[in-house]
Each structure stands twice: as C-alpha cells, then as structure tokens.
Symmetry: C2
C-alpha cells in the first residue's frame, strides 16, 4: 500500500494528489493514507499536505527502501525480485545463500550499508551507509566454470557505460574487475560462483560503487575515490542504479541470447588503463612483469612476457604500481 501511495506521489511529483483520490483509488480510508504519508515523511520524503488540495511530493531523499527500489526498477524486466536491507554483512554472501536455495536469475540484493563487504580474495570493501551502491545480482548462465570471468567483463562494461550516462565522465577499467579514475578505485566487481567441475550452477555478481563518499579511511585514501569527489557534486544513487542495471541487462542478454561478448569486450578494451603498459601480474605468491597487449574475445588478457612469449591470462590480479613505466 505504502508503495502504491509513493508511486502515485512520484508519478505526480510537484503536483497535488487529493487524499480523496488516493483513498478511493486504493480502497483505503483517508486516515490510513494520512498514516502512510506520515511514515514517508519520517523516511525523509518532503511532502506538502493541504487539507483542501491533498498531498504534493516536493523532494525525495536519495535513500533506498524496498518500495522505492520496486518502483524505480519496475521498468527493468530483468530484475525479477529485490531484497533490500538497511544493513547487512555482505550482499554477495546473502546472494550465495539465496542462490543455493534456488533463487532465480535476476534476483537483486541491495543494502544501504555493508558491515563486512568484500572484494576479491576475501579483502575488505568499505561500504558505509548513505554513500554508495552495494549490491549483488544472481545469474544462472549456461557456462563453464572457466568462462565465469566473462561475467566480470560484462559488469565492467555496464559500469563504464552507466557511469558515463549518469555523470558524463569517462572512467577506466583496470582489468579485470576494478573501475578507476586517475588510477583511484571508484568501483569494484566481485564475481563468485557455485559450480560442478563442468557446469556453473549460479553466478553472483557483486558490485560496489563509491558514489557520494567524501572521506576514506587513512589506509585507502590514496587508492580510492568516489564519483562525488571526481565530479564535485552529489550524484543521485537512484539514477545511477537504474542506469547500471539497465546497461547490465543489455550486455548480459546480448551475451546469453546472441552468444557474444563483443559489445562488452569493445568497451573493456576502449576503457582499459593497462593495454600498452607494462604491468605486474600477481598470482598468489608468483609475480611476473609483462606488457599488456590486448583483451581477447573471451575477455582474457593477452600479454607478452620478457622472453617474447605471448600468453593469455584468464583472470587474476594486475598491478601498475612498482612497474617502471607506471605514469
């Protein structure tokens, strides 16, 4: 009910909707309507009330709620079910549990805050409330476990395009899973899977974006930034979310339906900050310095070793730091 009232107010933002109309249209008493409006105001919605004219939505908070997400993502038919949390330990962890229990492709888990957000290889991902987008999407593509990195390419392409669409700033990709500006991280992707040796059962794509973060902890302030810090202005998390999920849907369905990664890989190539550079590839305790030549059609990084040998790297960690040609 609250969702329906909010939806009507949003559809008529800046205009009055009469209490009468809401009450008869939704089949509830005017007292009920008044209570829901009160609750929306408490959540930060700026709503003008007039006993004659009704209710007018003046301003919305950049806050999420189950109702708000269901309204703003209604047009994205790829997102079938939404789980919203004010706070959670990790959206990826929750998503994996849901996926094990059979949750469908297109399930979205989004939390305003993560208390134990994670990046690759179990590292922390700082996810404070009110500032970022922290979410996970459950997918069930018919792929092999060694093709899972392709999903990371799709998410990276979607993030680039969505950020560009939203704030008109071009961002870079540090292959395979970081989105950066001036070599500072603004977004990361954590792809995880449940699989048998030759069949993926589910993929969980975790996406974290530092949207309006202004202060970072001491230990990461040199390597992390936010869209707000880059743009110099607050960025609408809602608009960004809509765009990210729209782009993701488009790239992912192209992959699933047309069996091609071309559109995603083209963007990964164009936005790559490592192609043409010497980079360090880190694989557990091993490190090699190579020249990054290309990203191939499967999303693998094609590199040239010191001895001239050219090899493909399926997935891994790349560093530009501590390499002589690092600018």
């Amino acid at each position: 009910m609250k969702k329906k009232i909010l939806e009507q107010l949003k559809n008529n933002k800046g205009d009055f909707v009469s209490g009468e109309e809401l009450s008869s249209g939704l089949g509830v008493s005017r007292t009920s309507i008044w209570k829901y409006i009160k609750s929306l105001k408490e959540e930060g919605y700026d709503i003008e009330s007039s006993s004659r004219k009704g209710y007018k939505l003046i301003e919305e908070p950049d806050k999420f709620s189950q109702e708000e997400l269901e309204i703003i993502l209604k047009d994205n038919d790829f997102i079938k079910k939404i789980y919203y949390f004010d706070t959670i330990d990790s959206t990826n962890k929750y998503a994996k549990e849901l996926a094990l229990k059979g949750a469908d492709e297109g399930t979205l888990i989004l939390s305003d805050e993560q208390r134990g957000g994670r990046g690759r290889l179990g590292r922390n991902w700082i996810s404070p409330p009110n500032t970022g987008l922290w979410m996970s999407i459950i997918l069930r593509p018919q792929i092999k476990p060694w093709e899972a990195p392709q999903i990371t390419s799709i998410a990276a392409a979607a993030l680039c395009k969505a950020i560009e669409n939203t704030i008109n700033i071009k961002v870079g990709i540090k292959w395979p899973n970081d989105i950066v500006v001036n070599n500072k991280k603004i977004s990361g992707i954590l792809t995880e899977m449940g699989a048998e040796p030759d069949t993926v059962n589910f993929i969980v794509v975790g996406i974290g974006i530092n949207v309006n973060t202004e202060d970072f902890p001491e230990d990461i302030k040199d390597i992390a930034t936010s869209l707000k810090l880059i743009k110099g202005d607050t960025v609408s998390r809602k608009r960004l979310l809509i765009n990210v999920l729209q782009e993701f849907k488009s790239f992912y369905l192209d992959f699933v339906n047309n069996k091609t990664l071309k559109k995603s890989i083209d963007i990964c190539r164009e936005n790559s900050i490592i192609l043409g550079n010497k980079v360090k590839i880190i694989n557990g305790m091993e490190e090699i310095i190579v020249v990054a030549l290309d990203i191939n059609d499967r999303g693998e990084l094609v590199v040239k070793k010191d001895n001239g040998e050219i090899i493909n790297i399926i997935s891994g960690e790349v560093s530009l730091r501590g390499v002589s040609n690092y600018i």
Copy 2:
C-alpha cells in the same frame, strides 16, 4: 557420555566391563550408566547385562550415530568435525551451506538416508536408509576452478582402493566420476565448488555408495548395483567408511602436500573401463564419438576424434552405450 560408554564397550567387545568401573571411571552414577546402556540397546546394540559382571557388548548394529562415527573415525586426523543425520535432503547441499558459513577442511557430513540425493547435473541419486554410504566432505585446496576435476580423480582412486581393501573385489572407473562393476554403477562422486573466477574457496566432494541395497527401482535396476549384490553377502558399512576416508586422506594429502596427482591418476588409469574404447562424450546437447586414449597427469581424458585430432577433455559425461564397440 554415551559416546564414552560406547567406546569402552567397543574397546572390550566380547568382554564384560563392570558397572562400577564405568561409573567411577566416567564420574557418573551407576543409574546413569544403566540408562545409557538402555538407550544403546534401543539403538540395536546387543549388550549382555549381568548384575555381577557388568556389561558386555556382543554385537553392534551396522548403524551410524554421531557417537559411533566419532569413535570409528577417531584415528583419521583429516576428519576434524562430523555432522551425522538419520535423514537429510542432500549431504552436498548441507555441506555447501556449512562451507559458505566458513566450515573447515575435513568437515564430514553423513546421513543414513537422503531424501533428495543428487548426482551430476541435478540428477537424482536414490539413497534409502540402512543400505548405503551417503556423505560429503568439505575441502579447501588452493586450486583454480578449472582444477576442480582433479578432486574427482582423487575421490575415484580412493573409492577403488577402499572397496578393494574392504571386500577384495576390483571395481572399474567410468571417467570421471562413476564407480562401476559389470558396467553397473555402484558408486558416484559429485564434486561441487564455491569459487571466484581464479580461486576456489571450497570444494564439496559428495560420495554415494550402494552398499547393501538389494532392490533398485525399475528405471535404474539395469544400470545400478550394490556391493552386496556383487559379493553375495552383507558388507560392513562402518569398515567401508573407515577405509574410504583413510584412502581419501592419503591421496588428497599427497596432492596437497606434494603437488602431485600421480598416485590417484595411476589408479584411475588402471581401473578405467573406457581407455582403449570408443566412447560418446556428451556435453549438453552436443555429442561426439571418440576413442579414449589416456588419462593425463591432470586427470583429463585424452581422446582421438574421427578426424585424427587428439584433444583433452577436462570433465564431462561419457557413455559407452550406443557406441558400436561396446562389449
């Protein structure tokens, strides 16, 4: 406490242990001892009671319980924690949930019955009570997702050797994950993993063995058999379990500590029922008929295609049926 009493009776099987000794040794009243003995009798333990001499364990049921498993697997220092169930939907499912929550390597889940036991690709695995071994082991090897099939090879080798040790019958492996006798399945392995694109977080190895099954449902009676049907006599599930986990420990630790699969692969080769034969490789909707030449050091199947090309198959489904040279 019940476990300690059972352990003492088992250690002195066929001999009397006095109630006095049990009572003072374990620091509980003789009435308590009597109650525990009563409960053990109800579980099927044949215990002779004498007011003068105490209690004598005459015969044990081939039944599992938390206490029984902890006692019989006490010497296997690889198995760190045991979860026993009389009935469960699927031990692999439960193991994956535990693994997501951080369960350690060496966690064993065993159930007397599975109501929703599964084989590869979501197929059913019939797991009635009192007849089989249905279990899952959680592992945390530092491997890549594409190396997960190696764990299947280790389990297959362990099963061959354990069955041979227990009932002195040589069994065959239908690469990669079925144990067969006369081309009828007696055991299957279901390896599953939780992973990031380039790191396995956990592996769950599910093992199902038809031990004392006498009747199979109509639709699988031509393709399934049990150790009892082969041997013509009841097989001790406890002895088999001890042997399976002992062999698994040995092959797995050789792999982890010495970074070699050699011992496992040698057994997979020796016991293979497909090497030298024409087989059908089934990959989703695609099928090709090839000659199986070898199993390489990574556990991959080396096959020759019709056009003479030699390729390695990482994992998949192999069928001997419907192929002309099938004997």
